[in-house]
């Protein structure tokens, strides 16, 4: 049911939602870090759980991941994942401390707190843009941080969906930083995973049903 009723029009609408959210988040990130941050046009796909891990760079890829639970008219999970080096780079420049290192699992309290705050600001701007656009009430939880294998982190957000389906609709926005040595390669991802029951609310709010 979840799989059958979603058409390409629906996916386009979700893409637009991802676009609006991500554009706001990119602006927030650029302002915060005083760097030019670019976001790609989001990909909206219905993928298997294993493919979801591949989107995030493979299940064993180590990332700094921020997770938020979304409540309100729309429920779901949101992740902001950054490769460890990129998280180090962002947070070092944010707190002006070059010793911040997420790699060893014992990041300083300040570093962890700054990372959570970064996740909070970005997902807050993403979700408030989404809320304004759809007039739906969307309340993010306090963000939680984990530095670990992306499979272990992201699978947590699949639990809710897995009750209903073996596939998940993912709104994936990649972020890149301009003028870096490795030429603007993909630095991180936003994954928005609405719970299956929430799609109706989203589509109705946008006049699709």
């Amino acid at each position: 049911m979840y799989k059958k009723n979603i058409t390409s029009i629906h996916l386009d609408v979700l893409k637009e939602i991802g676009n609006i959210g991500a554009a706001h988040a990119a602006t927030a990130l650029s302002t915060l870090l005083n760097k030019k941050i670019e976001m790609t046009v989001p990909k909206v796909e219905m993928v298997s759980f294993d493919d979801m891990m591949d989107l995030a760079g493979g299940a064993e890829n180590v990332v700094a991941g921020i997770y938020l639970r979304i409540d309100g008219d729309v429920t779901g999970s949101m992740f902001f994942v950054l490769p460890v080096e990129q998280a180090n780079h962002f947070i070092q420049s944010l707190v002006q401390d070059s010793t911040v290192d997420f790699q060893n699992g014992e990041v300083s309290e300040l570093g962890a707190s700054a990372m959570q705050e970064l996740g909070n600001i970005l997902s807050g701007s993403y979700l408030s843009a989404l809320s304004d656009f759809t007039s739906l009430r969307i309340y993010p939880s306090v963000p939680a941080l984990s530095v670990d294998m992306v499979g272990a982190i992201v699978s947590f957000g699949l639990v809710e969906v897995s009750h209903i389906s073996d596939y998940v609709i993912v709104i994936d926005t990649a972020i890149t930083e301009e003028n870096t040595t490795n030429g603007g390669s993909v630095k991180g991802h936003f994954f928005l995973l609405p719970d299956p029951d929430s799609f109706e609310a989203i589509f109705t709010a946008l006049g699709l049903q």
């Binding site: 294993d50 299940a59 064993e60 180590v62 060893n104």
Partner: protein, 165 residues
């Protein structure tokens, strides 16, 4: 010689069996639980990547049996029987069931890791399969690989190193 065979990969909510010298592996276990069932004598083993405790939680017509503890474990036993394993000789090693994020919210979803572990243990007990070793709980992701020749389960984590159980 260890490591001569192929590595059979098991995805999320998936299962498979293996014969030595091959090994079987699943990556990035968080709240999910990897259940290895192996025959003490022959060099055959199976691995189920359990995502949810109970199929009654599922709300679909067709269920993926490997996804749930209550359906995945019996299905794996059946599959191993087909490969000639005597069920009474089965032993288990389990890993996973972490709580990746600490939340104050009491919502049940947040405790999915511990609930998965409880369910796996309940069903292994039901089928009288002893758990020889386990590495469960905590807050770390795990990649596990079982070698049916040595019967060792290799567990790799990002922050807690590597060990064999």
């Amino acid at each position: 010689m260890i490591g001569q065979g192929q590595v059979v990969k098991v995805g999320i909510a998936d299962m498979n069996t293996v014969k030595a010298p091959d090994t079987i592996r699943t990556s990035g276990l968080g709240s999910c639980v990897g259940v290895v069932l192996y025959d003490e004598r022959s060099q055959i083993a199976g691995l189920v990547h359990v995502m949810l405790p109970d199929s009654s939680l599922g709300r679909t017509e067709t269920i993926n049996i490997a996804k749930f503890a209550d359906t995945g474990i019996p299905a794996m036993i059946e599959q191993l029987k087909l490969e000639g394993v005597q069920p009474f000789r089965l032993r288990a090693k389990i890993a996973g069931g972490a709580q990746m994020f600490q939340f104050t919210s009491g919502k049940d979803t947040m405790r999915i890791g511990p609930r998965n572990v409880e369910a796996v243990k309940e069903y292994l007990k039901k089928f009288s399969i002893p758990i020889v070793a386990e590495d469960t709980g905590g807050s770390s992701g795990r990649t596990i690989e079982f070698n049916p020749m040595t019967k060792l389960l290799n567990i790799r984590t990002v922050n807690q190193g590597v060990k064999d159980i």
